[in-house]
Protein backbone atom coordinates (compact mmCIF):
# COMPACT_ATOMS: atom_id res chain seq x y z
CA UNK A 1 0.00 0.00 0.00
CA UNK A 2 1.35 3.42 -0.95
CA UNK A 3 1.06 6.46 1.18
CA UNK A 4 2.22 10.02 1.36
CA UNK A 5 2.00 12.58 4.14
CA UNK A 6 1.67 16.27 3.43
CA UNK A 7 4.26 17.41 5.94
CA UNK A 8 3.31 21.04 5.41
CA UNK A 9 0.05 20.18 7.10
CA UNK A 10 1.58 17.90 9.72
CA UNK A 11 1.85 19.50 13.17
CA UNK A 12 3.29 16.51 14.98
CA UNK A 13 0.15 15.34 16.81
CA UNK A 14 1.58 11.82 16.38
CA UNK A 15 -1.80 10.10 16.16
CA UNK A 16 -0.51 8.03 13.24
CA UNK A 17 2.61 7.00 15.16
CA UNK A 18 0.45 5.80 18.06
CA UNK A 19 -2.01 3.93 15.88
CA UNK A 20 0.29 2.43 13.22
CA UNK A 21 3.74 2.32 14.87
CA UNK A 22 5.24 0.06 12.20
CA UNK A 23 4.57 2.58 9.45
CA UNK A 24 4.83 5.99 11.14
CA UNK A 25 7.41 7.06 13.69
CA UNK A 26 8.26 10.26 15.47
CA UNK A 27 11.80 11.45 15.02
CA UNK A 28 12.29 13.72 17.97
CA UNK A 29 9.22 15.31 19.53
CA UNK A 30 7.66 16.76 16.43
CA UNK A 31 8.95 15.45 13.13
CA UNK A 32 7.43 12.48 11.44
CA UNK A 33 9.15 9.85 9.37
CA UNK A 34 7.21 7.14 7.65
CA UNK A 35 7.48 4.31 5.19
CA UNK A 36 5.72 5.34 1.97
CA UNK A 37 5.20 1.66 1.12
CA UNK A 38 3.35 0.00 3.99
CA UNK A 39 2.90 -3.75 4.22
CA UNK A 40 -0.52 -4.99 3.25
CA UNK A 41 -1.08 -6.37 6.78
CA UNK A 42 -0.85 -2.78 8.05
CA UNK A 43 -3.96 -1.74 6.15
CA UNK A 44 -6.27 -1.70 9.15
CA UNK A 45 -3.83 0.28 11.28
CA UNK A 46 -3.10 2.72 8.46
CA UNK A 47 -6.84 3.29 8.03
CA UNK A 48 -7.04 4.22 11.71
CA UNK A 49 -4.10 6.58 11.27
CA UNK A 50 -5.58 8.26 8.18
CA UNK A 51 -8.90 8.87 9.92
CA UNK A 52 -7.32 10.07 13.16
CA UNK A 53 -4.95 12.61 11.62
CA UNK A 54 -6.17 15.93 13.04
CA UNK A 55 -4.89 17.83 10.00
CA UNK A 56 -5.92 15.21 7.42
CA UNK A 57 -2.43 15.04 5.97
CA UNK A 58 -2.21 11.35 5.06
CA UNK A 59 -3.17 9.98 1.66
CA UNK A 60 -3.12 6.22 1.18
CA UNK A 61 -4.23 4.21 -1.82
CA UNK A 62 -5.69 0.83 -2.59
CA UNK A 63 -3.86 -2.51 -2.83
CA UNK A 64 -3.41 -2.35 -6.60
CA UNK A 65 -2.14 1.20 -6.57
CA UNK A 66 -5.44 2.60 -7.67
CA UNK A 67 -6.58 5.75 -6.00
CA UNK A 68 -9.23 5.58 -3.34
CA UNK A 69 -11.53 8.23 -4.75
CA UNK A 70 -11.24 7.06 -8.36
CA UNK A 71 -14.76 5.83 -8.51
CA UNK A 72 -17.17 6.26 -11.36
CA UNK A 73 -19.80 8.02 -9.32
CA UNK A 74 -17.40 10.61 -8.02
CA UNK A 75 -16.19 11.39 -11.49
CA UNK A 76 -19.70 11.74 -12.81
CA UNK A 77 -20.45 14.13 -10.00
CA UNK A 78 -17.60 16.36 -10.98
CA UNK A 79 -18.50 16.06 -14.64
CA UNK A 80 -21.85 17.59 -13.97
CA UNK A 81 -20.46 21.06 -13.52
Amino acid sequence: MRLVVDLNKCQGYAQCAFLAPDVFAMHGEESLIYNPRAEEEQRERVARAVAACPVQAITADGPDGSGGPATGSAREASDGR
Partner: protein, 463 residues
Protein backbone atom coordinates in the same frame (compact mmCIF):
# COMPACT_ATOMS: atom_id res chain seq x y z
CA UNK B 1 -11.17 32.12 -26.25
CA UNK B 2 -14.39 30.84 -27.70
CA UNK B 3 -16.50 28.98 -25.20
CA UNK B 4 -17.05 26.11 -27.58
CA UNK B 5 -13.28 25.61 -27.87
CA UNK B 6 -13.08 24.93 -24.14
CA UNK B 7 -16.02 22.53 -24.41
CA UNK B 8 -14.31 20.76 -27.30
CA UNK B 9 -11.00 20.66 -25.43
CA UNK B 10 -12.60 19.14 -22.37
CA UNK B 11 -14.35 16.52 -24.46
CA UNK B 12 -11.73 15.44 -26.95
CA UNK B 13 -8.69 17.71 -26.77
CA UNK B 14 -5.12 16.51 -26.32
CA UNK B 15 -3.23 17.55 -23.22
CA UNK B 16 0.44 16.77 -22.77
CA UNK B 17 2.24 17.07 -19.46
CA UNK B 18 6.02 17.15 -19.62
CA UNK B 19 7.40 16.03 -16.28
CA UNK B 20 6.08 12.94 -14.52
CA UNK B 21 6.85 13.72 -10.92
CA UNK B 22 4.74 15.20 -8.12
CA UNK B 23 3.41 18.22 -10.05
CA UNK B 24 2.81 16.24 -13.25
CA UNK B 25 0.86 13.52 -11.45
CA UNK B 26 -1.26 15.89 -9.38
CA UNK B 27 -2.06 17.93 -12.49
CA UNK B 28 -3.11 14.80 -14.38
CA UNK B 29 -5.37 13.76 -11.53
CA UNK B 30 -6.92 17.19 -11.28
CA UNK B 31 -7.61 17.30 -15.02
CA UNK B 32 -9.54 14.05 -14.77
CA UNK B 33 -11.23 14.98 -11.51
CA UNK B 34 -12.47 18.18 -13.13
CA UNK B 35 -13.87 16.34 -16.10
CA UNK B 36 -11.23 16.35 -18.79
CA UNK B 37 -12.22 13.45 -21.06
CA UNK B 38 -9.73 13.88 -23.89
CA UNK B 39 -6.32 12.34 -24.51
CA UNK B 40 -3.76 12.79 -21.75
CA UNK B 41 -0.05 12.05 -22.15
CA UNK B 42 2.64 12.29 -19.48
CA UNK B 43 6.28 12.44 -20.47
CA UNK B 44 9.00 11.75 -17.90
CA UNK B 45 12.75 11.34 -18.30
CA UNK B 46 13.02 8.87 -15.42
CA UNK B 47 11.80 5.35 -16.18
CA UNK B 48 9.63 5.25 -13.07
CA UNK B 49 6.11 6.23 -12.25
CA UNK B 50 5.86 9.35 -10.09
CA UNK B 51 7.57 8.95 -6.74
CA UNK B 52 8.01 11.14 -3.71
CA UNK B 53 11.41 12.72 -3.13
CA UNK B 54 11.40 14.10 0.43
CA UNK B 55 11.68 10.61 2.00
CA UNK B 56 14.88 10.00 -0.01
CA UNK B 57 17.01 12.18 2.27
CA UNK B 58 15.15 11.19 5.45
CA UNK B 59 13.47 7.79 5.96
CA UNK B 60 15.45 6.18 3.13
CA UNK B 61 18.87 7.17 4.44
CA UNK B 62 17.78 6.13 7.92
CA UNK B 63 16.87 2.70 6.55
CA UNK B 64 13.18 3.18 7.37
CA UNK B 65 12.00 3.03 3.77
CA UNK B 66 13.20 1.56 0.50
CA UNK B 67 14.50 4.01 -2.09
CA UNK B 68 12.68 1.97 -4.71
CA UNK B 69 9.31 2.27 -3.04
CA UNK B 70 8.36 5.86 -2.53
CA UNK B 71 5.87 5.93 -5.40
CA UNK B 72 3.10 8.43 -4.82
CA UNK B 73 -0.37 7.13 -4.12
CA UNK B 74 -2.84 8.16 -6.78
CA UNK B 75 -5.73 10.30 -5.69
CA UNK B 76 -7.65 9.86 -8.91
CA UNK B 77 -7.57 7.58 -11.94
CA UNK B 78 -5.45 9.40 -14.52
CA UNK B 79 -6.25 7.20 -17.51
CA UNK B 80 -3.16 8.59 -19.20
CA UNK B 81 -0.61 7.47 -21.71
CA UNK B 82 2.73 7.37 -19.92
CA UNK B 83 5.93 8.00 -21.90
CA UNK B 84 8.46 7.23 -19.20
CA UNK B 85 12.23 7.00 -19.52
CA UNK B 86 12.37 9.45 -22.39
CA UNK B 87 13.11 13.15 -21.93
CA UNK B 88 11.48 15.97 -23.85
CA UNK B 89 14.07 17.50 -26.16
CA UNK B 90 12.30 20.39 -27.80
CA UNK B 91 9.11 22.39 -28.17
CA UNK B 92 7.54 23.78 -31.35
CA UNK B 93 5.02 26.37 -30.20
CA UNK B 94 3.60 27.04 -33.65
CA UNK B 95 3.00 23.42 -34.57
CA UNK B 96 2.13 22.58 -30.94
CA UNK B 97 4.49 19.65 -30.77
CA UNK B 98 6.85 18.29 -28.13
CA UNK B 99 9.91 16.55 -29.53
CA UNK B 100 11.25 13.64 -27.51
CA UNK B 101 14.84 12.55 -27.04
CA UNK B 102 14.15 9.37 -29.03
CA UNK B 103 13.04 11.45 -32.02
CA UNK B 104 9.35 10.87 -31.50
CA UNK B 105 6.94 13.80 -31.52
CA UNK B 106 3.79 14.33 -29.50
CA UNK B 107 1.16 16.85 -30.52
CA UNK B 108 -0.92 18.79 -28.06
CA UNK B 109 -3.74 21.25 -27.82
CA UNK B 110 -2.62 22.35 -24.38
CA UNK B 111 0.71 21.73 -22.70
CA UNK B 112 1.75 21.71 -19.07
CA UNK B 113 5.44 22.01 -18.30
CA UNK B 114 6.45 20.52 -14.96
CA UNK B 115 10.01 19.44 -15.65
CA UNK B 116 11.26 20.50 -12.22
CA UNK B 117 14.88 20.74 -11.25
CA UNK B 118 17.86 18.44 -11.03
CA UNK B 119 20.73 18.38 -8.59
CA UNK B 120 23.51 20.78 -9.50
CA UNK B 121 26.47 18.56 -10.28
CA UNK B 122 30.03 19.03 -9.11
CA UNK B 123 31.37 21.47 -11.73
CA UNK B 124 34.63 19.61 -12.42
CA UNK B 125 33.46 16.70 -14.47
CA UNK B 126 36.46 14.50 -13.99
CA UNK B 127 36.25 14.81 -10.21
CA UNK B 128 32.50 14.33 -10.33
CA UNK B 129 33.05 10.95 -11.99
CA UNK B 130 35.17 9.61 -9.11
CA UNK B 131 33.70 6.59 -7.45
CA UNK B 132 32.19 7.62 -4.11
CA UNK B 133 30.95 11.03 -5.28
CA UNK B 134 27.18 11.27 -5.04
CA UNK B 135 24.32 13.61 -5.78
CA UNK B 136 20.97 13.22 -4.07
CA UNK B 137 17.91 13.95 -6.12
CA UNK B 138 16.61 10.78 -7.75
CA UNK B 139 15.74 7.41 -6.30
CA UNK B 140 18.79 5.94 -7.99
CA UNK B 141 20.96 8.54 -6.25
CA UNK B 142 19.35 7.61 -2.94
CA UNK B 143 19.72 3.88 -3.50
CA UNK B 144 23.40 4.22 -4.37
CA UNK B 145 24.13 6.53 -1.44
CA UNK B 146 22.22 4.36 1.02
CA UNK B 147 24.16 1.29 -0.11
CA UNK B 148 27.42 3.07 0.55
CA UNK B 149 26.33 4.41 3.94
CA UNK B 150 25.22 0.95 4.99
CA UNK B 151 28.63 -0.45 4.10
CA UNK B 152 30.13 1.82 6.76
CA UNK B 153 32.33 4.43 5.08
CA UNK B 154 35.26 5.88 7.05
CA UNK B 155 34.04 9.45 6.57
CA UNK B 156 31.33 11.15 4.57
CA UNK B 157 32.02 14.64 3.25
CA UNK B 158 28.99 16.80 2.48
CA UNK B 159 29.56 19.82 0.23
CA UNK B 160 26.97 22.46 1.05
CA UNK B 161 24.94 22.88 4.25
CA UNK B 162 21.53 23.69 2.83
CA UNK B 163 18.56 21.60 3.88
CA UNK B 164 19.45 18.57 1.78
CA UNK B 165 23.09 18.55 2.85
CA UNK B 166 22.16 18.99 6.49
CA UNK B 167 19.65 16.15 6.27
CA UNK B 168 22.33 13.87 4.84
CA UNK B 169 24.69 14.83 7.66
CA UNK B 170 21.95 14.13 10.17
CA UNK B 171 21.28 10.66 8.74
CA UNK B 172 25.02 9.89 8.83
CA UNK B 173 25.35 10.86 12.47
CA UNK B 174 22.31 8.84 13.39
CA UNK B 175 24.01 5.83 11.80
CA UNK B 176 27.22 6.59 13.65
CA UNK B 177 29.14 7.58 10.50
CA UNK B 178 31.78 10.33 10.85
CA UNK B 179 30.80 13.28 8.69
CA UNK B 180 32.34 16.59 7.65
CA UNK B 181 30.17 19.37 6.21
CA UNK B 182 31.66 22.28 4.27
CA UNK B 183 29.71 25.49 3.79
CA UNK B 184 30.84 28.65 2.04
CA UNK B 185 28.62 30.83 4.25
CA UNK B 186 29.04 31.29 7.99
CA UNK B 187 26.54 28.62 9.02
CA UNK B 188 24.14 26.00 7.65
CA UNK B 189 20.79 27.12 6.18
CA UNK B 190 21.78 30.79 5.96
CA UNK B 191 20.47 31.20 2.42
CA UNK B 192 17.02 30.02 3.46
CA UNK B 193 16.77 31.26 7.05
CA UNK B 194 19.54 33.79 7.63
CA UNK B 195 22.53 33.86 9.92
CA UNK B 196 20.75 34.08 13.28
CA UNK B 197 18.79 30.90 12.75
CA UNK B 198 21.74 29.44 10.86
CA UNK B 199 23.80 29.70 14.05
CA UNK B 200 21.27 27.46 15.80
CA UNK B 201 21.57 24.94 12.97
CA UNK B 202 25.37 25.12 13.33
CA UNK B 203 25.17 24.31 17.05
CA UNK B 204 22.82 21.47 16.27
CA UNK B 205 25.35 19.99 13.86
CA UNK B 206 28.43 20.32 16.03
CA UNK B 207 26.64 19.00 19.12
CA UNK B 208 25.66 15.95 17.15
CA UNK B 209 29.24 15.30 16.22
CA UNK B 210 29.36 16.84 12.75
CA UNK B 211 32.73 18.27 11.79
CA UNK B 212 31.32 21.54 10.44
CA UNK B 213 33.61 23.78 8.38
CA UNK B 214 32.19 27.19 7.51
CA UNK B 215 33.51 30.05 5.37
CA UNK B 216 35.27 27.49 3.22
CA UNK B 217 34.79 26.14 -0.27
CA UNK B 218 35.93 22.89 -1.75
CA UNK B 219 38.72 23.40 -4.24
CA UNK B 220 39.29 19.83 -5.38
CA UNK B 221 38.25 16.24 -4.94
CA UNK B 222 41.17 13.89 -4.94
CA UNK B 223 40.96 10.35 -6.25
CA UNK B 224 43.17 7.33 -5.73
CA UNK B 225 44.86 5.27 -8.41
CA UNK B 226 41.73 3.27 -9.21
CA UNK B 227 39.44 6.28 -9.44
CA UNK B 228 37.87 6.28 -5.98
CA UNK B 229 37.55 9.53 -4.09
CA UNK B 230 39.84 9.63 -1.10
CA UNK B 231 40.23 13.25 0.02
CA UNK B 232 38.67 16.69 -0.21
CA UNK B 233 40.76 19.84 -0.54
CA UNK B 234 39.43 23.02 1.00
CA UNK B 235 40.03 26.71 0.34
CA UNK B 236 41.68 27.09 3.72
CA UNK B 237 44.36 24.69 2.53
CA UNK B 238 43.19 21.84 4.71
CA UNK B 239 42.61 18.36 3.37
CA UNK B 240 39.98 15.99 4.73
CA UNK B 241 40.16 12.27 3.99
CA UNK B 242 36.78 10.91 2.98
CA UNK B 243 35.61 7.94 0.97
CA UNK B 244 32.13 9.29 0.30
CA UNK B 245 31.39 12.81 -0.96
CA UNK B 246 27.84 14.10 -1.24
CA UNK B 247 27.52 17.11 -3.50
CA UNK B 248 24.64 19.20 -2.20
CA UNK B 249 24.88 22.46 -4.07
CA UNK B 250 21.25 23.13 -4.78
CA UNK B 251 19.56 22.60 -8.07
CA UNK B 252 19.42 23.47 -11.70
CA UNK B 253 16.10 24.07 -13.45
CA UNK B 254 15.31 21.76 -16.30
CA UNK B 255 14.71 24.32 -19.03
CA UNK B 256 17.48 23.59 -21.54
CA UNK B 257 15.09 21.63 -23.73
CA UNK B 258 13.13 24.85 -24.28
CA UNK B 259 16.08 26.79 -25.67
CA UNK B 260 14.99 28.46 -28.88
CA UNK B 261 11.35 27.57 -28.35
CA UNK B 262 10.38 31.18 -27.80
CA UNK B 263 9.17 30.64 -24.25
CA UNK B 264 10.43 32.89 -21.45
CA UNK B 265 12.56 30.11 -20.07
CA UNK B 266 16.03 30.37 -18.60
CA UNK B 267 18.23 29.25 -15.74
CA UNK B 268 15.81 30.75 -13.22
CA UNK B 269 12.88 28.82 -14.58
CA UNK B 270 9.92 29.48 -16.80
CA UNK B 271 8.04 32.69 -16.15
CA UNK B 272 4.28 32.40 -15.92
CA UNK B 273 1.41 34.61 -14.83
CA UNK B 274 -0.57 34.10 -11.64
CA UNK B 275 -2.84 31.79 -13.63
CA UNK B 276 0.14 29.52 -14.48
CA UNK B 277 0.19 30.50 -18.19
CA UNK B 278 3.72 30.67 -19.55
CA UNK B 279 5.15 33.92 -20.88
CA UNK B 280 7.00 33.92 -24.15
CA UNK B 281 10.41 35.59 -24.27
CA UNK B 282 8.83 38.91 -25.24
CA UNK B 283 6.78 38.94 -22.03
CA UNK B 284 3.51 38.09 -23.79
CA UNK B 285 1.44 35.46 -22.10
CA UNK B 286 0.66 32.29 -24.07
CA UNK B 287 -2.75 30.68 -24.20
CA UNK B 288 -1.88 27.03 -24.51
CA UNK B 289 1.23 26.52 -22.42
CA UNK B 290 1.04 26.26 -18.65
CA UNK B 291 3.75 25.78 -16.02
CA UNK B 292 3.76 24.26 -12.53
CA UNK B 293 6.14 23.14 -9.81
CA UNK B 294 9.82 23.77 -9.17
CA UNK B 295 10.49 24.94 -12.73
CA UNK B 296 7.94 27.76 -12.60
CA UNK B 297 8.55 31.32 -11.53
CA UNK B 298 5.40 33.28 -10.95
CA UNK B 299 4.41 36.65 -9.48
CA UNK B 300 2.99 36.63 -5.96
CA UNK B 301 0.58 39.29 -4.76
CA UNK B 302 1.66 39.00 -1.13
CA UNK B 303 5.28 39.64 -1.94
CA UNK B 304 5.09 42.73 -4.09
CA UNK B 305 4.27 40.79 -7.26
CA UNK B 306 7.89 39.71 -7.56
CA UNK B 307 8.47 36.52 -9.45
CA UNK B 308 9.04 33.68 -6.99
CA UNK B 309 10.61 30.34 -7.73
CA UNK B 310 9.65 27.88 -5.05
CA UNK B 311 11.28 24.51 -4.67
CA UNK B 312 8.59 23.39 -2.30
CA UNK B 313 6.62 20.17 -2.23
CA UNK B 314 3.39 21.95 -1.35
CA UNK B 315 3.85 24.51 -4.09
CA UNK B 316 4.19 21.74 -6.67
CA UNK B 317 0.88 20.24 -5.58
CA UNK B 318 -1.00 23.53 -5.34
CA UNK B 319 0.33 25.00 -8.55
CA UNK B 320 -0.34 21.78 -10.45
CA UNK B 321 -3.93 21.81 -9.28
CA UNK B 322 -4.40 25.44 -10.24
CA UNK B 323 -2.71 25.00 -13.61
CA UNK B 324 -4.81 21.94 -14.41
CA UNK B 325 -7.98 23.72 -13.41
CA UNK B 326 -7.13 26.77 -15.52
CA UNK B 327 -6.19 24.62 -18.52
CA UNK B 328 -9.70 23.34 -18.99
CA UNK B 329 -11.98 26.12 -17.84
CA UNK B 330 -13.35 29.34 -19.27
CA UNK B 331 -11.42 32.52 -18.65
CA UNK B 332 -13.74 33.86 -15.98
CA UNK B 333 -13.41 30.68 -13.92
CA UNK B 334 -9.65 30.77 -13.79
CA UNK B 335 -8.02 30.92 -10.40
CA UNK B 336 -4.79 32.66 -9.41
CA UNK B 337 -2.02 30.63 -7.84
CA UNK B 338 -1.67 32.33 -4.47
CA UNK B 339 -0.06 29.61 -2.44
CA UNK B 340 1.61 30.67 0.74
CA UNK B 341 5.20 29.45 0.50
CA UNK B 342 5.79 26.77 3.12
CA UNK B 343 8.35 24.09 3.71
CA UNK B 344 9.60 21.68 6.28
CA UNK B 345 12.79 19.87 7.08
CA UNK B 346 13.90 17.58 9.81
CA UNK B 347 17.41 17.13 11.08
CA UNK B 348 19.00 15.80 14.25
CA UNK B 349 15.52 15.11 15.61
CA UNK B 350 14.40 18.74 15.22
CA UNK B 351 11.42 19.70 13.11
CA UNK B 352 11.96 22.89 11.11
CA UNK B 353 9.02 24.53 9.38
CA UNK B 354 8.55 27.83 7.67
CA UNK B 355 5.86 29.94 6.01
CA UNK B 356 6.26 33.01 3.85
CA UNK B 357 9.51 34.15 2.31
CA UNK B 358 12.22 34.37 5.00
CA UNK B 359 14.94 35.72 2.65
CA UNK B 360 12.80 38.84 2.15
CA UNK B 361 13.15 39.50 5.86
CA UNK B 362 15.56 42.18 6.99
CA UNK B 363 14.89 41.61 10.65
CA UNK B 364 13.99 38.73 12.89
CA UNK B 365 12.15 38.49 16.19
CA UNK B 366 12.02 35.42 18.38
CA UNK B 367 8.41 35.77 19.53
CA UNK B 368 8.15 32.46 21.38
CA UNK B 369 10.67 30.16 23.01
CA UNK B 370 14.41 30.53 22.77
CA UNK B 371 17.17 30.02 20.25
CA UNK B 372 19.39 28.43 22.90
CA UNK B 373 16.80 25.75 23.65
CA UNK B 374 16.26 25.19 19.92
CA UNK B 375 12.53 25.44 20.40
CA UNK B 376 11.23 28.73 19.10
CA UNK B 377 9.16 30.75 16.68
CA UNK B 378 11.05 33.35 14.65
CA UNK B 379 9.20 36.06 12.74
CA UNK B 380 10.79 37.86 9.79
CA UNK B 381 9.93 41.45 8.99
CA UNK B 382 10.46 43.65 5.97
CA UNK B 383 9.45 47.30 5.62
CA UNK B 384 7.23 47.19 8.68
CA UNK B 385 5.36 44.00 7.72
CA UNK B 386 5.60 40.34 8.74
CA UNK B 387 6.77 38.42 5.67
CA UNK B 388 7.73 35.00 7.07
CA UNK B 389 7.99 32.82 10.14
CA UNK B 390 10.09 29.81 11.06
CA UNK B 391 9.58 27.29 13.84
CA UNK B 392 11.95 24.82 15.45
CA UNK B 393 9.78 22.15 17.16
CA UNK B 394 6.92 24.62 17.47
CA UNK B 395 4.86 23.86 14.38
CA UNK B 396 1.47 24.20 16.01
CA UNK B 397 1.82 27.98 16.27
CA UNK B 398 2.74 28.44 12.63
CA UNK B 399 -0.77 28.82 11.24
CA UNK B 400 -1.26 31.91 13.44
CA UNK B 401 1.78 33.54 11.87
CA UNK B 402 0.67 32.48 8.41
CA UNK B 403 -2.51 34.51 8.90
CA UNK B 404 -0.44 37.43 10.09
CA UNK B 405 1.56 37.29 6.86
CA UNK B 406 -1.60 37.01 4.78
CA UNK B 407 -3.04 40.15 6.28
CA UNK B 408 0.24 42.07 6.11
CA UNK B 409 0.39 42.47 9.88
CA UNK B 410 2.86 45.02 11.24
CA UNK B 411 6.42 44.20 12.26
CA UNK B 412 7.92 44.33 14.88
CA UNK B 413 5.50 42.19 16.89
CA UNK B 414 4.51 44.55 19.69
CA UNK B 415 1.83 42.51 21.44
CA UNK B 416 2.75 39.96 24.10
CA UNK B 417 2.88 36.27 23.16
CA UNK B 418 3.14 33.14 25.27
CA UNK B 419 6.66 32.18 26.25
CA UNK B 420 8.21 35.46 25.12
CA UNK B 421 11.74 35.66 26.47
CA UNK B 422 13.89 38.74 26.99
CA UNK B 423 15.74 37.89 23.77
CA UNK B 424 12.46 38.23 21.86
CA UNK B 425 11.59 41.76 22.91
CA UNK B 426 13.48 43.48 20.13
CA UNK B 427 14.07 42.61 16.49
CA UNK B 428 17.57 41.77 15.34
CA UNK B 429 19.18 41.75 11.92
CA UNK B 430 18.15 38.46 10.30
CA UNK B 431 21.60 38.33 8.75
CA UNK B 432 20.99 37.04 5.27
CA UNK B 433 23.97 36.93 2.94
CA UNK B 434 24.23 39.51 0.20
CA UNK B 435 21.55 38.43 -2.30
CA UNK B 436 23.78 39.29 -5.24
CA UNK B 437 26.14 36.50 -4.24
CA UNK B 438 25.24 33.12 -5.64
CA UNK B 439 24.24 30.59 -3.01
CA UNK B 440 23.72 26.92 -3.44
CA UNK B 441 20.06 26.85 -2.82
CA UNK B 442 17.71 28.93 -0.84
CA UNK B 443 14.48 27.15 -1.52
CA UNK B 444 12.79 30.39 -2.52
CA UNK B 445 14.31 32.62 -5.13
CA UNK B 446 13.08 36.14 -5.63
CA UNK B 447 13.81 36.96 -9.22
CA UNK B 448 12.60 40.46 -9.81
CA UNK B 449 9.81 41.77 -12.00
CA UNK B 450 10.76 40.73 -15.51
CA UNK B 451 8.94 37.79 -17.02
CA UNK B 452 11.84 37.11 -19.37
CA UNK B 453 15.27 36.28 -18.03
CA UNK B 454 17.01 35.39 -21.27
CA UNK B 455 19.59 38.07 -20.70
CA UNK B 456 20.41 36.87 -17.21
CA UNK B 457 24.01 35.90 -16.71
CA UNK B 458 24.13 32.94 -14.41
CA UNK B 459 26.95 32.41 -11.98
CA UNK B 460 27.35 28.84 -10.85
CA UNK B 461 28.27 28.53 -7.18
CA UNK B 462 31.98 28.60 -6.61
CA UNK B 463 32.78 25.62 -4.43
Amino acid sequence: MAADYVEWLRREGRIVIVGASLAGLRAAETLRAEGFAGELTLIGDEPYEPYDRPPLSKSVLLGKASPHHTELPHRWETDAKWRLGVAAAGLDLTARRVRLADGDEVEFDRLLIATGVRARPWPKEEEARLEGVFLLRTREDAAALYRRLKAGPRRVFVIGAGFAGSEVASACRESGIPVTVAERAGAPLVGALGGVVGAVAADLQTENGVDLRTHVTVTALEGDSVGRVRAVHLSDETVVEADVVVVSLGSVRNTEWLTGSGLGAGPRGIACDAGCRAFDFRGIVTDDVFVAGDVARSPHALFGYQFLSLEHWGNAVAQAETAAHNMICHGAERRPHLWMPAFWSSMFGVNIKSVGVPPMGEQLMITQGSLAERRFVGVYGCKGRIVAAVTFDNARWLEFYQRQIERGAPFPVEYPTLDRRPEGRRPVDADFPDPSLPTHGPMVTLSGYSPADQQLVFHPARH
